[in-house]
C-alpha cells in the first residue's frame, strides 16, 4: 500500500497534510470540517452549561435572590437555545457523522464537500449572532419563541436570536441534504443498504428529519420576525390571528428535532454495543427500520406539546394516540441492544460504560414520555419539572452520553491517540452519578407541582431540598464533563499512538490508519462482508480483562 510521506518522515494524514489557518478555514476535507465543528460544538456546550449552572444556583434557595426575574427568563432561554440549536442538533452529525460517514461507506468524501464547508460557516455565523444576542443583553422568550410574547411584548433581542436560529437551521438542512445524497450515491461497490453500519442508517434517518422539518421552523421564525418588524398580523390575536398557529408550525419541526438529536446517538450505541459485546447486532433489519420508523412517526405527534395550550380536545386525543406509537420503534431498539449484549463477551471500556448509561437512562426518559403522552397525566405535570426531567433524561442521559461514547470510541481514529482509559472510566462514572443526582429529583419536584421557568418558589419551601440535591448533582456533572475536555486535549500531545484498530472493531473506518489520510482510502474498497461481522473477527478487545 503506497503511503505518502511528509518531510519529517511520518505518514501523511489529514492532519499533517497541510498546515496553516487557511488550510483549515478553506478545507473541503470532511474530516477537517468535523474538527472545525468539534471546536464550535464544545464551545457552545460550555456556554449552555454555564447558563445551566446559573439556573441551578438560583434555584438553590426558594427566593429569587441571585438574579432578577427577567434575567432568569434570559438564563433558561439562552440555556435552551444554545444547547438545542448549537449543541444537541449539530453535535453528532456534524462531528462524528461528518468524520465517519464517508469512511464507513467507502467514499473519499461527502457528495458536496463545499456545501459541507458552507454548513460550517453558516453554523459559525449563526453562533456569532447568538453570542452577540447574549452579550447585547440576551433574549427571554423561552427557547420556544412563543407568540405574542416574542412578536409584541418583549423589548429584548428577539430578532437577532431568531436570525441566529434561522441560519443555524440552514446549516442543519445542508448537512442533512449532503448526507442523504452521499449515502444514496457514494457507497463503495458491495456496500449495499443491508451492509451499512447502523450509524449510517441512523444519520440517514436523521437527515430525512432535518430536510423535512427544519424548513418549517425556518418559515415560522421568518413569520415571527416579519410580525415583529413589520407588524404583519399572522399570529396577532387582535387581528383574529391565532398564537397557536405559531405553536403548530414551531412544534412541527421541534418535535422531530428531538429525534434529530437522539437518532445519531442511537447509531453510536449500536456500534459500541456490538464492538464491546463482540456480537453482531440483534435484529439488524428491525433496527434499521426502527430508525426510519422513529423518523416518520415522529412527524405525526407534535401537538402533544400543546395539550393545554388550547387546541381542540379531539385533536389532543389524536395526537396522544399517535404519541404512543412513536414509543414502539424506540422500545424495539432498547430490546435489541439488550439482546445483543445477552451472551456477548462484554468488556467495560469507557465507550461501553457510556453506552450502558444511554440504554438505561434513555429508557427511563422514554418511559416518562409515555406518561406525558397520557392526556390526564399531562394536564398535571405539563410545564412542571417533570417535563424538564423527562427531556433531560433523554437529551443528557441519552444523547450526551451517546456523544461521549462516540467521542471515546472514535477518538483514536480521529486523533491517532488513545485517551487514558482509567480517567475515561472515572469521568463516565462521575457523569452518571452527577446526572442522576441532578435530574432524578426533578421528576419528583415536577410531580409535587414545581413549575418550570419559575425563578422563585418561595410559596413552596418544601421544594428546596430536592433543588439543592439537583444543584449538587449539576456541579458533579460539570466535573464529569470537564475531565474529558482535559484528557482529550492532553492525549493529543501525550496519548499513546493509536493503532488502526484499537478495539478490534468491525467497520471500514477501522481498516484505514489512525488518523486517516486525506482521501481516506488508497484504493476504493469492495465490500463483500456483512455489517458487524464479529463472528469472523478474531481476537478480543485489546486490553480487555
Amino acid at each position: 500500500m503506497a503511503t505518502a510521506v511528509v518531510e519529517t518522515g511520518e505518514r501523511e494524514t489529514y492532519l499533517n497534510k497541510e498546515y496553516g489557518i487557511k488550510s483549515w478555514l478553506l478545507t473541503v476535507d470532511h474530516k477537517r470540517i468535523a474538527l472545525l465543528y468539534l471546536a464550535g460544538i464544545t464551545f457552545f456546550f460550555f456556554i449552555g452549561g454555564f447558563f445551566a449552572l446559573l439556573i441551578r444556583l438560583e434555584l438553590l434557595t426558594p427566593a429569587g435572590d441571585l438574579v432578577q426575574a427577567d434575567t432568569y427568563n434570559k438564563l433558561f432561554t439562552m440555556h435552551g437555545q444554545v444547547m438545542v440549536f448549537f449543541f444537541l442538533i449539530p453535535a453528532v452529525p456534524a462531528v462524528l457523522g461528518n468524520f465517519l460517514i464517508p469512511i464507513m461507506i467507502g467514499a473519499k468524501d461527502l457528495a458536496f464537500p463545499r456545501i459541507n464547508l458552507l454548513s460550517w460557516y453558516l453554523y459559525i455565523f449563526a453562533g456569532i449572532l447568538m453570542l452577540y444576542t447574549i452579550l447585547a443583553g440576551g433574549v427571554d422568550t423561552g427557547w420556544t419563541f412563543y407568540v405574542p410574547l416574542s412578536t409584541e411584548f418583549l423589548k429584548t433581542n428577539v430578532i437577532t436570536a431568531a436570525l441566529a436560529v434561522f441560519i443555524a437551521g440552514f446549516s442543519s438542512i445542508f448537512t442533512g441534504l449532503n448526507f442523504i445524497v452521499t449515502i444514496h450515491r457514494m457507497r463503495a461497490p458491495g456496500m449495499t443498504w443491508n451492509r451499512l453500519p447502523l450509524f449510517v442508517w441512523a444519520h440517514y434517518a436523521t437527515s430525512l428529519i432535518q430536510v423535512l422539518g427544519t424548513p418549517v421552523l425556518a418559515i415560522s421564525i421568518v413569520l415571527v420576525a416579519l410580525e415583529r418588524l413589520l407588524h404583519l398580523g399572522i399570529f396577532n390575536p387582535a387581528l383574529g390571528g391565532d398564537p397557536l398557529l405559531f405553536q403548530h408550525l414551531f412544534w412541527f419541526y421541534s418535535h422531530p428535532a428531538v429525534y434529530i438529536m437522539i437518532l445519531p446517538g442511537m447509531g453510536i450505541v449500536s456500534e459500541v454495543v456490538c464492538c464491546f459485546s463482540r456480537k453482531r447486532i440483534f435484529g439488524y433489519q428491525a433496527m434499521a427500520m426502527a430508525l426510519l420508523g422513529i423518523a416518520v412517526v415522529g412527524f405525526l405527534v407534535w401537538a402533544h406539546h400543546m395539550f393545554v395550550a388550547g387546541i381542540s380536545v379531539y385533536a389532543a386525543l389524536v395526537f396522544s394516540l399517535l404519541s404512543y406509537f412513536v414509543a414502539v420503534p424506540s422500545a424495539i431498539k432498547v430490546f435489541n441492544w439488550t439482546s445483543t449484549m445477552y451472551k456477548g463477551s462484554i468488556t467495560y471500556q469507557t465507550p461501553m460504560l457510556y453506552a450502558f448509561g444511554f440504554v438505561g437512562l434513555f429508557t427511563i426518559g422514554g418511559l416518562t414520555g409515555l406518561f406525558l403522552a397520557a392526556l390526564g397525566i399531562d394536564i398535571h405535570v405539563t410545564d412542571t419539572y417533570f417535563v424538564v426531567a423527562h427531556f433531560h433524561y433523554i437529551m443528557v442521559g441519552g444523547m450526551v452520553m451517546a456523544y461521549m461514547a462516540g467521542m471515546h470510541f472514535w477518538w483514536p481514529k480521529i486523533s491517532g491517540r488513545m485517551y487514558p482509559e482509567g480517567w475515561g472510566r472515572l469521568a463516565a462514572l462521575i457523569v452518571f452519578i452527577g446526572f442522576n443526582l441532578t435530574f432524578f429529583p426533578q421528576f419528583i419536584l415536577g410531580y409535587m407541582g414545581m413549575p418550570r421557568r419559575y425563578w422563585d418558589y418561595s410559596p413552596a419551601p418544601e421544594f428546596q431540598i430536592l433543588n439543592v440535591l439537583s444543584t449538587a448533582g449539576a456541579t458533579i456533572l460539570a466535573v464529569g464533563y470537564l475531565l474529558p475536555m482535559i484528557y482529550f486535549l492532553w492525549s493529543m500531545r501525550y496519548g499513546k499512538p493509536a493503532p488502526d484498530n484499537p478495539w478490534n472493531a468491525a467497520g471500514l473506518e477501522w481498516t484505514v490508519p489512525s488518523p486517516p489520510s486525506t482521501f481516506n482510502f488508497d484504493e476504493q474498497p469492495v465490500v463483500t462482508w456483512e455489517a458487524y461481522n464479529y463472528d469472523e473477527i478474531e481476537g478480543e478487545v485489546p486490553g480487555a480483562h
Binding site: V216, I311, V313
Partner: protein
C-alpha cells in the same frame, strides 16, 4: 437526470396547455360552482404542476426512482402538516 431529449414540439405543447389551464382557471372562477370553485381551481393548478414536473422537469423520463420518491415524500409530509393542523382547527368548535 435522464438523457432523453424532449422535442421542441412537446415543450410548446405543454406551454400551450399551461396557458390554457390558466385561462380556464380564470373562467371557472367567474362561474358559481359553490364549494366546487375551490376544488376546480386547485385541480387545474395541480394538473399544471404535474405537467411542469413531468415534462419541463423531465420526471417522466427520469431513470431514477429516487426522484419520484423525493416528490412523493415532499407531498406526503406537506399533507401531514396541513391535515393534522386542520385536525385541530377543524374541530375547535365541536362540543
Amino acid at each position: 437526470m435522464s438523457e432523453h431529449i424532449s422535442s421542441v414540439k412537446l415543450y410548446v405543447g405543454i406551454w400551450l396547455a399551461l396557458l390554457a389551464g390558466t385561462g380556464l382557471t380564470v373562467l371557472a372562477a367567474r362561474i358559481d360552482l359553490g364549494p366546487f370553485n375551490t376544488i376546480v381551481a386547485l385541480s387545474i393548478a395541480t394538473i399544471k404542476a404535474i405537467l411542469v414536473v413531468l415534462f419541463f422537469m423531465h420526471v417522466k423520463y427520469a431513470h431514477e426512482k429516487m426522484t419520484k420518491l423525493v416528490i412523493v415524500t415532499a407531498i406526503f409530509f406537506l399533507f401531514i402538516l396541513l391535515a393534522l393542523s386542520m385536525a385541530d382547527y377543524g374541530t375547535r368548535l365541536w362540543s
